[in-house]
């Protein structure tokens, strides 16, 4: 930037542009990374602030091999293996060293032997076992030494016909460990053993019965049928699934219980028991859910059903609503916007259908729940009502209907009315009869007088 400043100085340029241009330029300079060696300045300038997207490999000649002096020769050298007892000499290639040095054969250290105890004749007196002869025990220990205590191999190679017994792996192990244990105890009494020795001593305890039982169980496990294996696998899968989902299930259950807890009711419901109250409640809910379009539309539909709009209008309204719905109503005029949204068409039922579905219309219903039998409204009034009751009782018709359906109630009312009419007619008849009789008597009396 100093170059830029120099130019400005040379040109004797100064002014407010100086400060404004310089400050951001200096900032930019700080963020620019150092240009890698293998790239020209012009190309780097084109790359801008971001590092190049590909690695730039400098084209260089391969480095000259660095010869570190003379090549070390190999020599075909005899070596003695200390692991061998016969001093047999083999040859192998070795690096030549100056001066020639004879190192111990490096693989000799892998020649390790298992320490199998050796017992004397005197010690064997203690180790006696009725099942094993001295010869067989010796044979066993030789095998143990030969096969480094690989008991499976020892059992595989075990051939001692003199004993006449088939020895199992457990028999062999039990004998070996019991001999080792007794021998150890014999040489160092139990109370004089070091902790390590005690540990070894305890480890030599071989429980033959348990081992045999374990092996029998292993045998059973090995001889499972495919079905058993499949079932076991299935159970295992199920178990893992259950344990995996346990936490989630608990969570879900908790949430469910939380939902099941009913919120405490606020206030009495008595204002909403009547049909008017219910209507009011519905209004409230509709208003509160103004944003819920679906509910609103239902409400509108029911409103429209009440207005006997006629079926011709509703399809037109529906199409306009469809048109304005997804397009945001941009095409529709203001009048269309103001018209209520989709109307649900209410089907007019024919009389047969009304009868079939039991739809009835009532002018006025008293609020509250009641028995239909109580709906029987007697048209007969006053004293005749009781006479009607008496007449019905005389006819053995119960004043309370057994099955008060709408139609039976209607017929019952008709019956009552008819009975009332009849009773009225009889009353009128009686009255006229009486008057007739009185008048007749008066006429008789007048005749007698005259």
């Amino acid at each position: 930037m100093s170059g830029f400043q120099d130019v400005r100085d040379v040109m004797e340029l100064s002014g407010p542009s100086d400060a404004t241009t310089r400050v951001p330029a200096a900032k930019k300079q700080k963020t620019v990374e150092r240009r890698p060696d293998g790239i020209t300045r012009e190309l780097f300038a084109l790359l801008g602030e971001n590092p190049p997207p590909v690695a730039i490999v400098e084209s260089k000649f391969k480095e000259k091999p660095r010869w570190m002096g003379k090549v070390n020769p190999w020599v075909w050298k005899p070596f003695n293996n200390p692991a061998r007892s016969d001093g047999f000499v083999l040859h192998h290639w070795e690096r030549k060293t100056e001066p020639p040095q004879d190192l111990e054969y490096q693989f000799a250290k892998f020649n390790v032997k298992v320490d199998v105890p050796i017992y004397t004749d005197g010690e064997y007196e203690v180790l006696k076992d009725p099942d094993w002869t001295r010869e067989e025990t010796d044979y066993l220990f030789d095998l143990c030494r030969e096969y480094d205590l690989r008991f499976v191999i020892i059992w595989d190679r075990y051939e001692f016909p003199a004993s006449g017994k088939a020895r199992s792996v457990e028999d062999i192990k039990a004998r070996y460990y019991s001999v080792c244990r007794s021998l150890m105890e014999l040489r160092t009494p139990l109370n004089q053993m070091t902790p390590e020795e005690t540990q070894i001593f305890n480890r030599l305890n071989f429980d033959k019965e348990r081992e045999t039982a374990r092996k029998n169980m292993a045998e059973v496990l090995f001889a499972r049928t495919p079905e058993q294996v499949k079932e076991e696998e299935m159970l295992l899968v199920e178990l893992t699934r259950i344990t995996k989902n346990q936490a989630r299930n608990l969570e879900e259950r908790k949430e469910l219980f939380g939902r099941l807890e009913v919120p405490a009711s606020q206030g009495s419901i008595s204002p909403y028991t009547g049909s008017q109250g219910l209507a009011h409640l519905r209004e409230m809910m509709v208003n509160s859910n103004d944003k819920n379009k679906k509910r609103k539309s239902i409400a509108m539909a029911s409103n429209n059903a009440n207005n006997s709009d006629g079926p011709q209008q509703s399809p037109a309204v529906a199409t306009s609503a469809e048109r304005s719905g997804p397009g945001g109503g941009s095409g529709g005029g203001p009048s269309q916007k103001d018209t209520p949204q989709p109307k649900k068409q209410v089907r007019k039922l024919t009389e047969e259908e009304e009868l079939e579905f039991g739809v009835t219309y009532h002018d006025k219903l008293t609020p509250g729940v009641k028995f239909r039998s109580a709906m029987v409204s007697s048209t007969v009034k006053g004293g005749t009502a009781q006479k009607v009751q008496a007449a019905l009782a005389q006819l053995e018709i119960s004043p309370r209907l057994a099955m008060p359906t709408a139609r039976t109630v209607q017929r019952f009312e008709q019956l009552q009315a008819s009975v009332g009419v009849l009773l009225d007619a009889r009353k009128a008849n009686d009255k006229i009869d009486n008057e007739h009789r009185i008048l007749k008597a008066q006429i008789e009396a007048a005749k007698e007088e005259s």
Binding site: N72, G87, F88, Q106, F107, F110, N111, Y147, V152, V229
Partner: protein, 444 residues
């Protein structure tokens, strides 16, 4: 050594412990019934592979003795009166004189003339009797004058070649299929079983099938020239004629036919997928299966140009290995007493400690050239999985056919180049001290 320079500077010795190897330039010899393999220990393939079958001419050698023809070139050339013989029988040496000559011939022309400078490691089958083992060590020290000798079990070596010291080695050789359980590099003798259902049996199966179907079998040497013919049409070839008295012997003819049968095994025979035996003839599943496996069958052209399309027969000829009752060569071997491969594996597992079974079934190694039959390993896998549902079964078979064929040799090569192994060699001094019986003590 120069090849190693970029990774290993010349002034720095490689760390032998990285691979435990210490090459002492030992020779490994793996005598089989079909092939005798020899090479230097530490290499990955045998340098010298010769057919175990050799040609012999009576009264043609020096002093009127036998003249032997050994090696691919000699044994396949036509010589009147040359008999083709095999020194092995049931996988073990029967003719010691011929075997000695053969082994020497396998080593000397291509490896070294100076046998006395290289320790020799040989492999043997697990059923090799002690007498044969003693004879082998005798030949090694007396005839070959090797400085040290070791006799390793072929099964163990095959396991080593797959990196397994414990497992079940299924070796499909020419004379036998052997199943050898090994543990810690030692053969479990009680579980060693074998069955004469190897490659030779398969050849006989194919031969029997050709005879029953009246398919003429020709050998390459018989044909001078041939012309292409339609499928199933008689061959149009000119055959080589021999002046009377100069015809090749019957054993030579058979030996040459055997090569054609081997080719048939390699490119046409196939093993039924299993598990369970191959469905019997005219069974829809079989037809459906082979329609899927090889639509239209496979064509095989005989040396004289005669060619045929083979369908379900391809499965039928191999089925005897797994299911002896369906073999075509009855009564030899007896289909009812010869155990099939499934039975062999079951027998082997029966005599193994139950605690080892799991581990052994988890390390099944399939080797031998016979196991290269198409679909063989899949079938073995299916059969074992069906027979032992409880433990996890894992079958390993080298994908590389060279490794599969020479697994026994390769394992021997690994063994003889290990630094820790060199204490096990039976040295000449020890042999002279203890006699041939030392092999029983040392080579377990």
């Amino acid at each position: 050594m120069s090849g190693l320079q970029p990774v290993l500077p010349s002034n720095q010795a490689p760390s032998t412990f990285e691979y435990g190897g210490d090459e002492i330039s030992a020779i490994v010899l793996d005598p089989g019934t079909a092939w005798t393999r020899a090479g230097f220990a530490g290499e990955d393939t045998p340098k010298s592979v010769v057919p175990t079958d050799y040609g012999v001419l009576e009264e043609a050698g020096e002093n009127g003795g036998k003249k032997y023809f050994i090696g691919d070139n000699d044994v396949h050339s036509i010589r009147p009166g040359m008999e083709i013989k095999n020194p092995m029988s049931d996988g073990i040496v029967a003719d010691w004189e011929a075997a000695t000559i053969l082994w020497r011939e396998a080593i000397t022309p291509r490896l070294t003339k100076a046998l006395s400078e290289h320790p020799l490691l040989m492999t043997e089958p697990s059923w090799n009797p002690p007498k044969n083992r003693e004879k082998t060590i005798e030949i090694a020290f007396e005839d070959f004058d090797v400085p040290a000798f070791y006799l390793a079990k072929a099964g163990v070596c095959a396991g080593f070649a797959s990196g397994k010291s414990t497992g079940l080695v299924i070796d499909v050789g020419a004379s036998n299929i052997s199943v050898t359980p090994i543990h810690d590099g030692l053969v479990l003798r009680k579980g060693c079983v074998r069955s004469p259902l190897g490659g030779d049996f398969l050849s006989n199966q194919i031969r029997a099938y050709f005879e029953s179907a009246n398919i003429p079998l020709s050998a390459h040497y018989q044909v001078l020239s041939k012309t292409a013919v339609e499928v199933g049409k008689p061959a149009e070839a000119t055959y080589r004629t021999f002046p009377p008295g100069e015809e090749p012997t019957e054993s030579y003819k058979r030996f040459q036919e055997e090569r054609v049968l081997t080719e048939f095994k390699e490119c046409t025979a196939q093993v039924w997928v299993g598990p369970g035996p191959l469905p019997t003839n005219n069974n829809p599943p079989l037809e459906a299966a082979h329609a899927i496996l090889s639509p239209g069958g496979r064509t095989f052209e005989f040396p004289d140009g005669y060619n045929l399309v083979f369908n379900s027969e391809r499965f039928r000829i191999t089925e005897g290995i797994f299911h002896p009752p369906s073999m075509l060569t009855a009564p030899n071997p007896d289909p009812h007493t010869t155990p099939g491969l499934n039975q062999l594996i079951a027998n082997a597992m029966k005599d193994i400690d139950v605690e080892l079974r799991q581990m052994i079934l988890n390390n099944i190694v399939i080797t031998g050239a016979g196991s290269l039959l198409y679909g063989f390993t899949d079938r073995v896998n299916a059969e074992i999985a069906a027979a032992f549902p409880a433990p996890r079964v894992r079958v390993m078979a080298a994908g590389n056919s060279v490794e599969r064929r020479y697994a026994g040799w390769l394992g021997g090569s690994i063994l003889a180049s290990l630094g820790a192994f060199h204490q096990l060699w039976v040295s000449k001094k020890e042999y002279e001290e203890h006699g041939p019986n030392i092999v029983e003590k040392r080579c377990k």
